[in-house]
């Protein structure tokens, strides 16, 4: 299934509900557990907040789709070096609970995809993740 759902919401915490609902619907199709969904919500919310703070966004856009038994959440486009830095993996033994650690603990993969001077942050959550 390669259907992509594009959701764009105001860059405010209270506006995140539609994103969570779409995530939940897609996750339910993959038979995600409540716990897997909760992880995904947590990751998406923290990325959302970080992006708003780093990019001074007015609108937040995200593409969501199911791909090979996984849910792909691609937020952007972004241009802020600060957000890119926050998503970049820290040293493995770093004693910090930052955005990077949070995303990489709750998702199976975190990618930064460049495109014409901007980039997207992609979160991938697999149906196979035990929970």
């Amino acid at each position: 299934m390669s259907e992509t759902i594009r959701v764009e919401v105001a860059a405010a915490q209270s506006a995140f509900t539609p994103v969570r609902l779409v995530l939940g619907g897609l996750g339910a199709r993959l038979e995600f557990s409540v716990e897997q969904l909760d992880d995904l919500y947590l990751a998406a919310e923290h990325l959302f907040r970080a992006a708003i703070a780093a990019e001074r966004l007015v609108r937040f856009g995200v593409d969501m789709r199911l791909e090979d038994g996984a849910l792909r959440f691609a937020a952007g486009p972004f241009t802020s070096p600060a957000l890119r830095e926050q998503v970049k993996p820290a040293a493995p033994d770093a004693a910090c609970l930052d955005l990077c650690r949070l995303l990489r603990t709750t998702c199976d993969d975190v990618q930064v995809l460049d495109n014409d001077g901007s980039y997207h942050v992609v979160l991938i959550k697999s149906q196979r993740t035990p929970a």
């Binding site: 939940g24 409540v34 716990e35 004693a95 930052d98 949070l102 603990t105």
Partner: protein
């Protein structure tokens, strides 16, 4: 000689002279909130209990003995649990209600007037119940959520608690929907609606003040696993972690540094997966408040020197 002296025994510090001295109530010993307490199997009757209460209250109020205060809190936690149990069917986690009720207990102990001649049980019970009721009132829905969704949300919490041990894993949305006699869409909407539910900080000082001597409520509650103290130092040194209580640090450590799932943490800590989820969110919010954005690399990524 203080005005309180006339209420004192010949030697108020002579704990040995008190029958049933110092034995806290057992955890499962259900204190009767509305009536006289029963004599216990070790022969300590109501009079003995009252004497012990009075002794400890004097120790605390006249001599500032905080150990006496702690013993009173320990002794009366079964009363808190008993009262909290009455409200446990209203969709809130029992542990949370006990913690909130304990605020009422601590307030009652702190405000108890030795000269009024009432039992601590009599004075504490309305304080505890009042605190629990206030919790329900303050923790109302911050946005209008249809009653049906609110009720489904409450039902889902119970269903999840039932399904996790049966399935030995977190249930799927479809399984939840079947168990709750709802559609998957309704389940998702109800779970989403829980975002509109306020939460209160259980870390707040019981008396609402922030002095160093004010222990957080959590310090009085729940068994502290030895494991809490065996976390790797690097975790406890993480920025902002010092502001979290031991259980919160332990849970974040297990989730984000050890990679355990919520269910695995729930099993290890002895609480439900949903409760773990809530504690993780609450702890992350506290970290955010303490150190600013979690996402600021300059704040949250300490240098090597900071870790030594």
């Amino acid at each position: 000689m203080t005005p309180h002296d006339e209420h004192r025994t010949s030697d108020p510090l002579d704990l040995e002279a008190l029958p049933g001295r110092g034995r806290p109530l057992d955890d499962d010993e259900d204190a009767a909130p509305d009536g006289p307490r029963k004599p216990d199997t070790k022969g300590r009757g109501r009079d003995d209990s009252d004497k012990l209460d009075q002794y400890l209250l004097r120790r605390y109020h006249l001599y500032g003995d905080r150990k006496a205060r702690e013993q009173l809190i320990t002794m009366y936690l079964p009363l808190v649990r008993s009262l909290a149990r009455r409200y446990a069917s209203r969709g809130e986690h029992f542990d949370d209600l006990v913690q909130v009720g304990a605020i009422g207990l601590i307030k009652a102990i702190d405000r108890f007037d030795l000269e009024r001649g009432v039992e601590l049980t009599t004075y504490a019970t309305p304080n505890i119940v009042g605190e629990i009721k206030r919790y329900f009132r303050d923790k109302g829905w911050s946005v209008r959520v249809p009653r049906g969704l609110q009720e489904l949300n409450i039902r889902l919490n119970k269903v999840i608690d039932e399904l996790v041990p049966r399935l030995q894993r977190s249930p799927t949305i479809k399984e939840l929907a079947e168990a709750a006699s709802a559609t998957p869409e309704e389940v998702l909407e109800a779970l989403e609606s829980s975002q509109a539910y306020n939460s209160v900080s259980l870390q707040a000082s019981p008396n609402g003040e922030g002095g160093e001597e004010d222990a957080g409520l959590i310090d009085y509650l729940g068994g502290e696993e030895e494991a809490y103290d065996t976390m790797e130092d690097r975790t406890t040194l993480a920025p902002g972690f010092a502001k979290l209580d031991k259980r919160e640090r332990y849970i974040l450590h297990l989730r984000f540094f050890e990679g355990l799932t919520q269910s695995q943490i729930a099993e290890r800590v002895g609480i439900s997966q949903m409760h773990v989820s809530r504690l993780i969110r609450r702890s992350l919010e506290k970290l955010r408040e303490e150190i600013g954005e979690l996402d600021n690399p300059q704040i949250t990524r300490p240098s090597g020197a900071d870790l030594k």
